[in-house]
């Protein structure tokens, strides 16, 4: 049989390898097993956002590991596709936790997946940092001590937009939002805030197309029928592209104030090419006009490394990864309770400036860029923008206490 002779042949090699390992192990402490962190996101289904986001955290990871890692150990990210459904995401998370033994989880794109992940984190008592899910539920009604979020949530971003709506004088509002957690949450917050903050405002039409399945022509004409003077849009991705094209053709946006969540982010703006609806008031990421040296340095480094312009996802991925590295360093261990303690009420010095992780709802004070859409050459961009710090738009502590169950 071949096996015995093979073993004999290989024996010296095994011995040599063993010796090398023993030597290496004693030589440097940095050779300790790496810290494993689990990451999951919708890389196949929502590649436009998630691929730049992966580039972002990869860049931060390389920087951390080049400096020797944290706690003297390198960080290893085990990354998986979450399948973009709640069931598939919790299953993947379970694999990361029980097979790979990761110390904490971060990622996910869709809000419904984020809510399921928050529930999973609570059940399995492991830290989960939501990357893109923006629904308030993740830090409010479904929030728990294991779940954290860095991006400004719907309540904060809608709050910023409604402030802009006051000036426009629009009173008759139409809402168009994808019919799932993110869209429903944003629409509910908008209805509440516009009526609280703009006297006399009313909602005259609501359209909730299924995510990814919009009948754009029919939706546009149904909104047109209600003759609104303001439109609040929550659509993104392929739905947004179709809706904008139909709306442009039918003149839906002429003489109408449009407030739109996230549309200023390059990941959703670039596919619109030269059909950018100019004048929409949006939240987004005007990376091409950012001047702060630290932030600018990040943008330049990103462009040099990937030969591509950054998306908001790139910035977010980078920030999430550096904040995780920072927290583990301060926690002094990878124990869940220590990490939670290191995250709660912690101040982080990020590329966009100081960000605090508020302990009462585990929501960070990262803000958003609010401005107007404009055509710059062959593609869209933002103009007239300001950076709105998240701290002044967060739900009050009383509001948080009223809805959170913990």
């Amino acid at each position: 049989m071949a096996t015995t002779s093979t073993i004999r042949w290989l024996a010296p090699a095994w011995l040599a390898l063993g010796a090398a390992l023993a030597l290496g192990g004693s030589a440097a402490q940095a050779q300790q097993a790496p810290i494993k962190i689990g990451e999951l996101n919708s890389y196949a289904q929502w590649a436009a956002f998630t691929v730049p986001y992966r580039n972002g955290w990869q860049m931060a990871l390389d920087e951390i590991n080049a400096k020797g890692g944290v706690l003297g150990r390198k960080i290893e990210i085990v990354s998986r596709d979450d399948g973009a459904t709640t069931g598939s995401a919790t299953r993947v998370a379970d694999e990361l936790v029980s097979r790979e033994g990761v110390s904490l989880l971060f990622g996910s794109f869709l809000s419904n997946v984020g809510v399921a992940m928050a529930d999973y984190a609570n059940q399995k008592k492991i830290v989960y940092i939501a990357a893109e899910p923006l629904t308030d539920a993740v830090t409010m009604a479904q929030g728990n001590r294991y779940t954290f979020r860095i991006r400004p949530n719907n309540f904060m971003q809608v709050g910023m937009l409604v402030d802009q709506a006051k000036a426009s004088g629009a009173k008759r509002w139409a809402i168009v939002a994808p019919n799932y957690e993110y869209g429903q949450s944003a629409a509910a917050v908008f209805k509440r805030l516009i009526q609280e903050r703009v006297p006399g405002a009313q909602i005259v039409a609501e359209q909730y197309p299924a995510l990814g399945k919009i009948e754009a022509g029919a939706t546009a004409s149904a909104i047109e029928q209600a003759k609104p003077d303001g439109i609040f849009n929550v659509l993104f991705g392929p739905d947004l592209t179709q809706f904008v094209r139909e709306g442009n053709t039918r003149g839906l946006f002429e003489d109408t104030t449009v407030l739109s969540l996230l549309t200023g982010e390059p990941e959703w703006l670039l596919p619109l090419k030269d059909e950018v609806p100019e004048g929409w008031t949006v939240t987004g990421y005007p990376w091409d006009e950012i001047k702060e040296p630290k932030h600018k340095a990040f943008i330049d480094a990103y462009r040099a490394k990937y030969n591509d312009t950054p998306r908001l996802g790139s910035l977010l991925g980078y920030m999430v990864m550096t904040m995780i590295g920072n927290s583990i360093e301060r926690a002094g261990s990878t124990e869940t309770d220590a990490i939670i303690k290191a995250l709660e009420d912690a101040k982080f010095d990020t590329v966009i400036g100081p960000v605090t992780m508020r302990g009462i709802d585990n929501q960070a004070t990262m803000g958003a860029w609010v401005g107007k859409l404009v055509l710059k050459g062959a593609a869209g961009g933002m103009t007239d923008w300001t950076y709105q710090d998240g701290a002044s738009f967060m739900p009050t502590e009383a509001e948080v206490k009223a809805v959170r169950k913990d």
Binding site: A44, A47, D81, E181, A210, K213, E215, G251
Partner: protein, 615 residues
């Protein structure tokens, strides 16, 4: 509502109807001739859109004008036609004789392969195509603006209908296509070159799919979800119109277009339901669609488990299996136990489908409906009534059985492909309800927090619970299969006429079988919900139904134990492939295709044949 608005809405409906018809027309022609339900038709449509969205802008850079645009659309459709020919020559040609389930599964393998290839070839970003030159400006209709390109689309439908009609009526190829649609065997007996005819038909079908996709680029950005979203609607159009009938497809597309355009006004949240509801209603009244004919039931299509004398020592084997299941937690870590729990659940799910397909000959494409009902039943009971797991599991099972009773009452009146499509419609309606009835089901969010009672939480106790329930349920089903009831089902499967002649109440038997299978799938669904802690609409989706079919066929449809082995093989394979590569859909699709070509009898069936040949 003012008339101008209604007019514009109706026009929107007409333009979607036209687009839908062009695509569905290809599907119905291919089905008429080859009798293959081509799941990959949606993938061809998607390739058409991607090709056009990439190609047309390049052509427009060379010379800008309407001629270039429309030439680009046609070239894209031709490219897709050639891809259709390649698929026919490489794959479909080898499976015309196979049972329809295998054909369906093979074409679903293509769907998976194309999903990954499209991302590899065209990149991950959605591609928005250019607007048609000269059709950028809207036209005014009754004082409202309407996109002029939509008017072109409205005209395109009838033009394609006319051209296809001319092709079918006035050419020799068309005569042969019509002849083959009526009686394929007779055409073969008359010495017609079938290979050429079928290749030509596939070219035509793929060309139309590609054309349908390419025409969409000025309105829709090419994206990776296009394939499954169009295929469901295209199925509805072909089934409602009558499989194989081109005018039927046209009429059905018109109705569906209007239903969607006006449905959005009346039920803005239930756009998905109306389409499948229409199909269910039409099939309940006209079992073969508008212009379809009853199928000649071929002997080759009735496959299922054969009656065999029981193996010696099967009690001993059963004890060994139970002992292995009981000892497994000693060997496995938490993650392996989780995988084993899921395999057991899927084994029960696939086994319940075996009762329908293998024993009853009732080919269900929508078995996910009952799996999902079980899961949702349990989850809703937890969410709304706060009941514990012990009460929620039976409630889920009961809801699934009830649902199966309701669906079954309609389904057993149908046969063949219409029956399969009715089950698909039922599953899609439930999917749409779960997806869009947000207040109750949580919509796309699903329901979270469905965790087991404390005594059963933790991997080991839950594994034991699942193993115990699965073994009991499988043994019960096995008993049912071997009882007179099971034999009556087999008799009805093999010869409906003879079974009826000896006094068997076929419909009642099938209805019972439907409820039993539904209840078993519901139990599996409930167990699955508690194992994951959440439910979401994808449990009711097409891919869950296909999973069950794949497990069944992978294991072997002609054996009782096949689905159990198939569930283990598929789930283990997926668990092993998925973390290794991002191209797991490609690999899974290729394995499904290879399986259909190499192991048409499934794993257990192949081993048994091999064993039998040796003995």
């Amino acid at each position: 509502m003012d008339p101008s608005f209604l007019a514009v809405q109706a026009l929107s409906g007409l333009s979607s109807a036209s687009s839908l018809f062009i695509t569905a027309c290809g599907l119905t022609i291919v089905f008429g001739v080859t009798r293959i339900v081509n799941f990959a038709h949606g993938s061809l449509y998607m390739i058409g859109a991607y090709t056009a969205a990439t190609l047309v802008p390049r052509l427009l850079e060379l010379s800008f004008g309407p001629v270039t645009f429309w030439a680009g659309i046609l070239i894209s459709a031709l490219i897709v036609g050639i891809i259709g020919v390649i698929i026919e020559v490489l794959l479909l040609r080898r499976i015309y004789g196979a049972p329809e389930l295998f054909q369906l599964l093979a074409t679903f393998g293509i769907v998976l392969v194309v999903q990954d290839l499209v991302v590899q070839v065209f990149g991950p970003q959605d591609i928005l195509g250019p607007r048609a030159p000269g059709l950028r400006a809207p036209v005014e209709i009754l004082g409202r603006r309407f996109p002029s390109y939509e008017l072109v689309l409205i005209a395109a439908g009838p033009i394609v209908l006319g051209l296809v009609w001319l092709l079918l009526r006035k050419t020799r190829f068309g005569v042969l296509v019509r002849a083959a649609t009526q009686d394929r065997d007779m055409v073969a007996s008359l010495g017609v070159n079938q290979a050429l005819l079928f290749t030509g038909t596939l070219f035509l079908g793929a060309f139309l799919a590609g054309l349908g996709g390419a025409l969409q680029i000025p309105r829709v950005s090419a994206n990776t979800g296009m394939d499954l979203s169009i295929i469901a609607e295209a199925f509805v159009v072909t089934v409602v119109g009558g499989m194989g009938s081109v005018p039927g497809a046209f009429l059905a597309a018109l109705i569906i277009g209007q239903l969607q355009a006006f449905g959005i006004l009346i039920f803005p949240k239930s756009t998905l339901v109306v389409v499948f509801l229409l199909m269910a209603v039409v099939l309940a009244i006209r079992p073969h669609g508008f212009f379809g004919r009853a199928e000649i039931v071929g002997g080759t299509h009735a496959v299922g488990i054969a009656s065999r004398s029981p193996l010696p020592g099967r009690r001993f084997m059963l004890l060994v299996v139970i002992a292995v299941l009981a000892a497994f937690p000693l060997l496995a870590d938490a993650y392996l136990l989780k995988v084993a729990t899921e395999i057991l659940i899927f084994a029960l799910f696939a086994f319940s489908l075996q009762l329908l397909i293998g024993v009853g000959g009732i080919v269900s494409f929508g078995h996910a409906a009952f799996f999902g009902l079980g899961a949702y039943g349990a989850a809703l009971a937890v969410k709304w009534y706060g009941v514990s797991m012990e009460a929620a599991l039976p409630l889920g099972l009961a809801l699934a059985a009830l649902g199966a009773g309701l669906v079954g009452a309609f389904v057993v009146r149908l046969s063949g492909i219409y029956l399969a499509m009715m089950t698909l419609a039922a599953a899609q309606i439930l999917y749409a309800v779960a997806f869009q009835w947000v207040e109750v089901t949580g919509g796309d969010n699903g329901i979270v927090g469905v965790w087991p009672s404390s005594w059963a939480s933790g991997p080991i106790p839950y594994y034991f619970l699942t193993a115990a329930l699965t073994v009991v349920a499988v043994l019960l089903l096995k008993r049912i299969i071997d009882a007179p009831f099971g034999y009556a089902l087999r008799a009805a499967r093999d010869s409906e006429a003879r079974a009826e002649a000896i006094g068997l109440q076929i419909r009642q038997h099938r209805w019972m079988a439907f409820m039993i299978a539904g209840a078993a799938a519901g139990l599996a669904g409930g167990l699955y919900a508690f194992s994951r802690g959440s439910v979401d609409p994808s449990l009711l989706g097409i891919s869950t139904s296909v999973d069950a079919l794949t497990m069944l066929l992978l294991g072997g449809i002609q054996t009782v134990m096949g689905p159990l082995v198939g569930a283990a093989a598929l789930h283990a394979l997926r668990d092993w492939i998925m973390p290794l590569t991002s191209l797991w859909r490609l690999l899974l699709g290729l394995s499904i295709i290879a399986m259909v070509l190499i192991f048409p009898r499934g794993l257990v069936g192949t081993v048994r044949d091999w064993w039998g040949a040796r003995a």
